[in-house]
Symmetry: C2
Subunit: 231 residues, 2 copies
C-alpha cells in the first residue's frame, strides 16, 4: 500500500504509488481515488503535489475528475489525448524503415488473428471498405479508407493491448499509408494491384484462413516496402 | 502553428498544440519551449492552464523542466515513469491470452530482426545470459535472467518503436514470464527443455538465421501457451 516519500520529485512519487496500486489490482476501473486531503496525509506530501499528480494522470487518460464528486479511475482508458509512441518516434528522429518493421510486426499477426476471430458483421464491414476502395477516385479519401481497412483488421483481432498500441501510433500509420500510396501511385497502373492486395487480405479473412491472411498481408507490406520512399 | 482556444478543457488544448508541433517537426528534441508567459499570450489561455499542461507533459517524459532555464523538449524520451500499456491492460481486465498474443506479435518479429542485426557483442551478451540460465538454481533469479534474455533480443532488433512498446509493457511481460515458469517448473524435468528452447533461440540468432530464430521463438511461446495458466 502507500508508503511515505523519501527523495525524488514528489508528484512523481504520488503517480508511482497510484500506478502501483492499479498494477497490483488494489485500484480498479471506476474506483474513486482517496480524497486529495487523505492522499496528502497518507503519502506525507503537499496538497499541491497531489494535485499535480492527479492532473497529470487525467491528461494521460487514467483518471477522470468529476466536479464535486472527486477523482475516479477512468472507465474508458483507451480514450487518450496523446499518442506517446508517435511523439517519441518523431523526437528520436526514427526512420521510415522502423515504421515498416513495426507495421510488419503488428499487421502480420493482426491479419492472422482477424482471420480466426472475424464475425459475419466484421466481414461485411471489411467488404464495404473494399468496395469503397474500388469505387473511390479521390486519392485523399482512398488513403483514409485504406487506413480504416487496416485499423478495422486490428479491431477484428480483438486484443485490447494490440489495439492500444495501434491507437498510440495512429499518426505514424496514417503518414506511412499516405506516403506509400503517393509513391506507388506515381505509376497509375499500380492502383489495380494495390486494390487487389487489399482484396486478397479481405478474402483470406473472409474464409477464416490465418496463414493466407498473414501471407496476403506480408505480400502487401513487402510491396509497400520495396517502393522507393518519399523522404 | 498556434491558434486560440474555443471549447474543451483548456490544458488539453495546450497539450494538443504542443503535440501537434512535435508531430509536424516544428518542435524538436532539446528545443526550448516558449516561456510560460509567451504561451499564455499565444494561446489565449491562463498561466495556470499552461503550467498544468507542461507539468503533465513532464510526467509523460516529453518535457524537462530545468530550474531557472525554462522548459525543454526532453532528450531522453524512452525514460518514462509510467507504463501506460500495462496500466490500461490491468484496468480493462484483459486476460492472459491477450498477453500471449502480444508476446507472439512482438517476439516472433524481434527474434527475426535480431538474427539479421546481431553484432558480435550482442551475441556474447546473449551467451552470458544463456550460461547464467544454465547454471542458476534460484528460481527468482532465473525468471529475471529469462526476462533479460527476451528484452536483450528486442534491444538487438534495434527498432526504437518496438523497444518503446516493450518498455511500456514491462510489468505484464515480467508477470507473464514468472507465471509461465512457475507452471512449467511444477514438473522439474521441464527445466532442461526450457533452457534448450532458449538455447535454440540463441543459436539461430548467433548463426544469423531469421527464419530459424522466428521458429525457435514460436516453438518456445507455443510451449508457454499450452501450459495451464495460473489464474
Amino acid at each position: 500500500m502507500f508508503s511515505p516519500v523519501k527523495n525524488k520529485k514528489i508528484y512523481e512519487y504520488v503517480i508511482e504509488q497510484i500506478q502501483k496500486m492499479i498494477l497490483e489490482g488494489t485500484l480498479k476501473e471506476g474506483d474513486r481515488l482517496p480524497a486529495e486531503r487523505e492522499l496528502t496525509d497518507l503519502l506525507g506530501v503537499s496538497r499541491t503535489s497531489v494535485r499535480e499528480a492527479i492532473r497529470a494522470l487525467e491528461v494521460i487518460g487514467l483518471v477522470e475528475s468529476r466536479q464535486g464528486e472527486g477523482n475516479f479511475i477512468s472507465s474508458n482508458v483507451s480514450n487518450t489525448l496523446l499518442e506517446p509512441l508517435s511523439v517519441k518516434f518523431m523526437l528520436s528522429k526514427g526512420n521510415t524503415q522502423e515504421i515498416l518493421e513495426l507495421r510488419r510486426l503488428l499487421e502480420l499477426e493482426t491479419a492472422s488473428l482477424a482471420a480466426k476471430k472475424a464475425t459475419e458483421k466484421d466481414i461485411e464491414e471489411l467488404q464495404v471498405l473494399i468496395n469503397k476502395l474500388r469505387t473511390t477516385d479521390d486519392e485523399n479519401l482512398c488513403a483514409k479508407i485504406d487506413k480504416e481497412f487496416h485499423y478495422k483488421i486490428s479491431e477484428i483481432a480483438a486484443n485490447s493491448l494490440i489495439m492500444n498500441i495501434l491507437l498510440s501510433v495512429q499518426y505514424l500509420m496514417e503518414a506511412s499509408i499516405i506516403d506509400a500510396r503517393e509513391m506507388i501511385l506515381k505509376n497509375p497502373e499500380q492502383k489495380d494491384l494495390l486494390i487487389k492486395q487489399h482484396e486478397d487480405i479481405y478474402d483470406s479473412i473472409k474464409s477464416h484462413n490465418p496463414e493466407e491472411a498473414q501471407n496476403a498481408m506480408r505480400e502487401h507490406l513487402a510491396f509497400v516496402n520495396k517502393t522507393p520512399k518519399n523522404s
